[in-house]
């Protein structure tokens, strides 16, 4: 019969061996030699069957305790060895994190400032319940001028350096629209008031220098109902300018002016600070003209089939390219249409910079 001394000797022997095992394979061999079918501890366990109950009462717990302790010691050592092995592997695995990656398409693509600014304008007016309307670039003389109360031969027509097409068989010559205002007429002809629209689009004048290009972009606004007046026009424009330029306050100055298609007509100046070619809106003491507006002229309403004694409303127009230049600081309008990659990458907007009122117009 195995006495307790033998058991303790065996425990000391195996424990020492486990502690000395320096790899998982050696540890496993030890485990088999102790706890395997023919292992030393298993051999001790086999002696229990031949013992008297009294002997077993003493030896049983001792041998079983030995078995459990050895198993636990193997487990502990195994965990230690695994940890050491992992540490060794991790220590040897090193990547150069400064190796550059491809930036990917989202980082490379750019939205043109004109599109971005149109989206910004759209976001603002969508909150005021406006819809977006549009019309053709190639217009008839009627929609571009006559319907808008530009009488034939009137000098006001000459303020627009118009691009013409060749006359057709009836002697009528179409024009490239000189402003987005023809869409006012087209919309009023189609839709019943109340009308609240903005009209962004391409416009054309035969003119070219640093601040004029033969093609440019305007956004027109039109409100027609039975009550809208200049007080509300002021509110709409002031709210728009403040929101668009993302400043706390914009000081405006409405000056009487002349446009054939509005009466009364006004130009709007904003207070700003100029230093060199840079213009800051929302501060300063200079004035800068920014847009034209007015109450839709009774003749224009009549031309669109509306009775000016019942319906009334206001309209305004401003240059999108110019708004972009003022907000984002491009110095030269001509570069907008040159598609110079360096310019597009510098002044363009990231694809997911989507102007919203909930997320902010610009990031």
């Amino acid at each position: 019969m195995a006495d307790l001394k033998t058991i303790e000797n065996l425990r000391d022997q195996i424990s020492a061996d486990i502690a000395a095992a320096d790899n998982l394979q050696a540890l496993d061999n030890l485990r088999v030699r102790a706890l395997g079918k023919k292992g030393s501890v298993s051999a001790l366990l086999a002696t229990l069957g031949k013992m008297t109950p009294d002997e077993r009462k003493v030896a049983g717990p001792a041998i079983n305790g030995l078995k459990n302790d050895i198993a636990a010691a193997v487990e502990t050592r195994s965990a230690e060895l695994k940890k050491a092995e992992l540490e060794k592997r991790l220590a040897s695995e090193r990547l150069d994190i400064t190796l550059p990656v491809r930036p990917g398409p989202l980082a490379q693509g750019r939205i043109h400032p004109i599109s971005q600014v149109i989206d910004e304008i759209t976001a603002i007016f969508s909150d005021m319940g406006f819809a977006l309307a549009e019309g053709p670039d190639i217009e008839t003389d009627y929609y571009n001028f006559t319907a808008l109360n530009f009488p034939e031969g009137h000098p006001a027509r000459e303020m627009h350096d118009t691009f013409f097409f060749n006359p057709d068989e009836n002697g009528e010559r179409k024009v490239l629209r000189t402003h987005t205002s023809p869409v006012q007429i087209r919309t009023m002809e189609k839709e019943e008031p109340p009308i609240r629209i903005i009209i962004p689009g391409r416009t054309y004048r035969c003119d070219s220098d640093q601040t004029h290009t033969p093609m440019f972009h305007q956004v027109e606004g039109l409100v027609i109902d039975k009550s809208s007046h200049i007080g509300q026009l002021r509110w709409v424009l002031e709210e728009f300018l403040k929101t668009f330029f993302e400043v706390e306050n914009v000081v405006t100055r409405f000056r009487p002016h002349f446009f054939p298609f509005t009466e009364p007509s006004m130009e709007v100046d904003v207070q700003c600070e100029r230093s060199g070619s840079e213009v800051k809106i929302g501060t300063g003491t200079d004035w800068m003209e920014i847009l034209g507006c007015g109450m839709v002229h009774p003749n224009v309403l009549r031309n669109a089939g509306l009775d000016p004694d019942i319906y009334q409303g206001f309209a305004w127009g401003l240059g999108i390219d110019r708004l972009a230049m003022l907000k984002y600081g491009m110095p030269d309008l001509r570069a907008f249409f040159d598609a110079d990659k360096r310019w597009l990458d510098h002044y363009g907007f990231r694809p997911l910079d989507m102007p919203t009122l909930f997320g902010g117009l610009s990031s």
């Binding site: 693509g109 599109s115 109450m295």
Partner: protein
């Protein structure tokens, strides 16, 4: 239009500051362009005497002058003016003075070995005229050491205003004074003109209007007056100073008087040397071929659309625009005919445009001159001529007459509030109108308002609203929020607007830069890309390469590629979303989204990279762009037809079109034709696509926004690979389609993972390998069932492609 504060005060009794005057003009609708304090700009220029002027020892054309400036030691000045001489008085600027006429600051210097500490100035250097033949010579009594500006009356504040085309009345200082008076800045002085009695009997110069019934009545009234025995010479100093201050060069008394009245009253006049006239002076339409030499020293030709003034010898000048040299007044003129006429604004504007002549008379007549001021204008001119040049006036001769019909507008005062939101009392509104020269009558809510003769621009109620509002002040209009319409706002964008917006973001998200290029291209480019329609050709293009409305977005993008390539940027991914033109109707304008990739600008980036260098772009780069764009717009490219018939701009074997049917083409893609590359001076490869955003079908109206139930199987999918050997011209699409439809219930996905051509396969053959995923639906498939499906797939592909399974 320029005027000085002093001049303004001739007509306006006011103590207002310059700032107040400028602000009031601005806020009542007269835009102030510039305010210049001449005294300030010329403060450093003083009156000096030339003590001695000796020839420069080292230069024939220069003189060395000792100048007495009135204080301190004499100053040595080197001067190049031929008229510099000992004893003269002139205008001196010390070193350090900014010289406005030449835009530089004068420095001390040594000129050819002689010291120079200042300058004797010409009129041009002071910017008071164009005179630069010599330095200013002042009379002996000019006060030494005094500021020249003060002495010459150039100390005025000059205001330049920009007038809108509707305000003829503001082309004269008197009209501006009336505006200011109405706005409370002072009191308007009496501007009435007393007739000048005729002392020389009836006029010997007959005046006529000769317009046929079919011709425009271009001159409706022509008043002329002969004044005998005048002495023409320099006009008085006050008149010269006044003209000089606003940038006009004094000529002689008669000319200066006409210029003065033009600016003072907005009433252009013309003076003829009566001794050079022959027969009847008359206004008529011109005849092609007629010519005259203008007072602008240029020859001019006239035609049937222009109104001329003529005598029996022919055309004298263009009525209301420009007089002629042949009958012009000179210092020798003794008998003068003054013309005060009224010309039709439309005719003047048209003639002005056609001839390009810019004159003070045209500026006023095309804005409409007060038709009631023809006779008073003539009297005013007669008075000034008599006062300044002496002489005996004949009786005026007047041809024609303008029926000045008084415009009376029924004006409900409620219109002011209706259109502006401004609350203003009836008496206040009427007081404003009265100050502007309108008469009102009636005591009900609707009053009658008579429009003064000088306000041709006022015709309707809304015009009167503007008059009241602008004088009361726009800042008095209360700001009021625009009320929301009931309900949540509808979608702001139409489907096509939304498509354009999505297309932009989708293509930018594919790493492409959005370009905005001209809507017009050259005719050659237009033809190459399907355009060249004569109706889309501009009659007056701004440049020879911007003549035709673009039929495609590609020419603009390719032009951009070329410009970028010239700056050595050859890897480009560019797109544009915008309009193209098939014809000149609104329907002929369509929205396209098109893009190009050049060099190595693929989806993941361009150029070399340690992980994977980008190869040359090919049509599959743009096919992927198209697929992504269509997907973003809700269309699955797998469900469209791909036809290997590319657009004309593409390589015939490397490109195709995407369509839903032969009549519903969504777009094209391909490699740019080598000839187009050569024409554009581009080195390849360039691949491109265009999508017709308007051709895309509108999504069907759905009953519900809910998506169909998600049908997930618990059974594991399994996949099998097959390779087929087919003829090289068999399209992959045919093979994939056959495999997909071999067993619709079980085949859930087919992907092509290898395409291979090689000698081992034989000439004209290729191998295509596919992975087919099978998704069991209600039970695990047995080996036999899998075998059966595989056999069906093989049979279907072999049948569709004429190929065979590669074993």
């Amino acid at each position: 239009m320029k005027f000085t504060i002093d001049w303004l005060k001739e007509h306006l009794e006011t103590e207002a500051s310059v700032e107040q005057i400028v602000d009031t003009l601005t806020m009542t609708g007269t835009e102030v362009e510039a305010v210049e304090d001449q005294g300030e700009a010329l403060a450093a220029f003083t009156i000096a005497r030339v003590i001695s002027a000796e020839k420069h020892p080292n230069a024939d054309r220069l003189k060395v002058c000792m100048v007495d400036t009135g204080k301190g030691e004499p100053v040595k000045v080197v001067c190049g003016a031929p008229n510099a001489k000992t004893g003269m008085k002139g205008v001196f600027a010390p070193a350090g003075t900014y010289i406005p006429g030449t835009d530089f600051t004068l420095q001390k210097g040594v000129i050819r070995g002689e010291e120079s500490n200042g300058m004797l100035c010409s009129e041009r250097e002071l910017m008071i005229s164009d005179e630069h033949d010599g330095i200013i010579e002042l009379p002996e009594d000019a006060p030494l050491g005094e500021k020249y500006a003060e002495y010459a009356g150039l100390n005025s504040v000059v205001i330049e205003v920009e007038l809108t085309p509707n305000r003829g009345d503001c082309t004269g200082v008197f009209g501006l004074a009336r505006e200011l008076a109405a706005a409370g800045v002072g009191d308007l002085k009496d501007g009435s003109v007393a007739p000048v009695p005729a002392t020389a009997g009836p006029t010997p110069v007959p005046i006529e209007l000769r317009f046929g019934p079919d011709e425009p009545q271009a001159c409706r009234m022509f008043a002329g007056r002969l004044i005998k025995n005048v002495r023409n010479g320099p006009s008085p100093e006050w008149l010269q100073a006044r003209l000089r201050a606003i940038g006009l060069r004094p000529i002689n008394a008669l000319a200066d008087i006409t210029n003065y009245i033009s600016y003072d009253r907005g009433r252009p006049l013309h003076v003829y040397d009566a001794d050079k006239l022959t027969g009847t002076v008359h206004a008529r339409m011109g005849v092609t071929g007629e010519k005259f030499d203008g007072l602008d020293d240029k020859p001019h030709e006239v035609d049937e659309t222009m109104c001329v003034i003529a005598d029996d010898n022919g055309v004298l000048g263009l009525g209301g625009i420009l007089g002629g040299v042949s009958t012009g007044c000179t210092e020798e003129t003794t008998n003068v005919l003054i013309e005060c006429a009224w010309f039709d604004p439309m005719v003047i504007a048209a003639t002005g445009r056609k001839t390009g002549i810019v004159s003070d008379a045209r500026y006023r007549f095309e804005r409409t001159v007060d038709p009631a001021f023809v006779k008073p204008g003539l009297e005013l001119a007669s008075k000034m001529v008599r006062d300044i040049c002496g002489g005996e006036p004949c009786e005026p001769a007047i041809a024609g007459n303008i029926d000045i019909e008084e415009k009376v507008i029924d004006f409900p005062l409620s219109e002011i509030k209706r259109l502006t939101g401004l609350s203003i009392s009836a008496p206040e509104a009427r007081a404003v109108l009265k100050l502007l020269g309108f008469w009102s009558a009636g005591s009900s809510d609707t009053i009658k308002v008579a429009v003064p003769s000088w306000r041709s621009d006022v015709a309707i109620k809304a015009d009167l609203v503007e008059e009241v509002m602008r004088i009361v002040g726009l800042d008095k209009v209360p700001v009021e929020p625009l009320e929301r319409l009931a309900g949540v706002a509808k979608k702001m964008l139409t489907p096509i607007q939304n498509r354009r917006r999505i297309a932009r973001r989708a293509l930018a998200a594919r790493g492409m830069d959005e370009a905005v290029t001209w809507s017009f291209v050259s005719e050659q480019q237009a033809r190459k890309f399907g355009g060249g329609n004569g109706a889309l050709k501009l009659a007056n293009p701004i440049a020879s390469d911007l003549t035709d409305m673009r039929p495609s977005l590609l020419p603009g993008l390719l032009g951009a590629a070329q410009r970028n390539a010239n700056r050595s940027f050859t890897d480009l991914a560019l797109f544009e979303v915008g309009q193209v033109f098939a014809d000149d109707t609104p329907e002929g304008q369509r929205s396209f989204a098109s893009g190009i990739r050049t060099g190595t600008a693929g989806l993941l980036g361009s150029g070399r990279h340690w992980q994977s260098s980008a190869g040359a772009v090919d049509i599959f780069d743009v096919k992927a762009d198209m697929a992504a764009l269509l997907n973003a717009l809700g269309i699955d490219m797998d469900k469209t037809q791909l036809v290997a018939e590319p657009a004309d701009w593409a390589h015939p074997g490397r490109g195709g079109r995407v369509q839903l049917g032969p009549k519903n083409i969504l777009g094209w893609f391909g490699e740019l034709h080598p000839l187009r590359l050569t024409e554009l001076d581009l080195t390849g490869p360039v691949v491109a696509f265009e999508i017709d955003l308007e051709a895309l079908p509108n999504p069907r109206k759905k009953q519900t926004r809910a998506k169909p139930a998600l049908n997930l199987s618990d059974l594991m999918p399994l996949s099998r690979d097959f390779a087929f050997i087919v003829d090289t011209d068999v399209p992959a699409g045919a093979l994939l389609k056959a495999a997909r439809s071999a067993h619709k219930n079980l085949v859930s996905e087919v992907s092509l993972f290898d395409v291979f051509e090689g000698k081992s396969l034989g000439e004209g053959k290729k191998s295509m390998a596919i992975e087919v995923t099978l998704q069991p639906r209600d039970k695990t498939l047995t080996d036999e069932e899998i075998e059966a499906v595989s056999a069906r797939i093989i049979a279907a592909v072999e049948k569709a492609t004429g190929g065979e399974l590669r074993r």
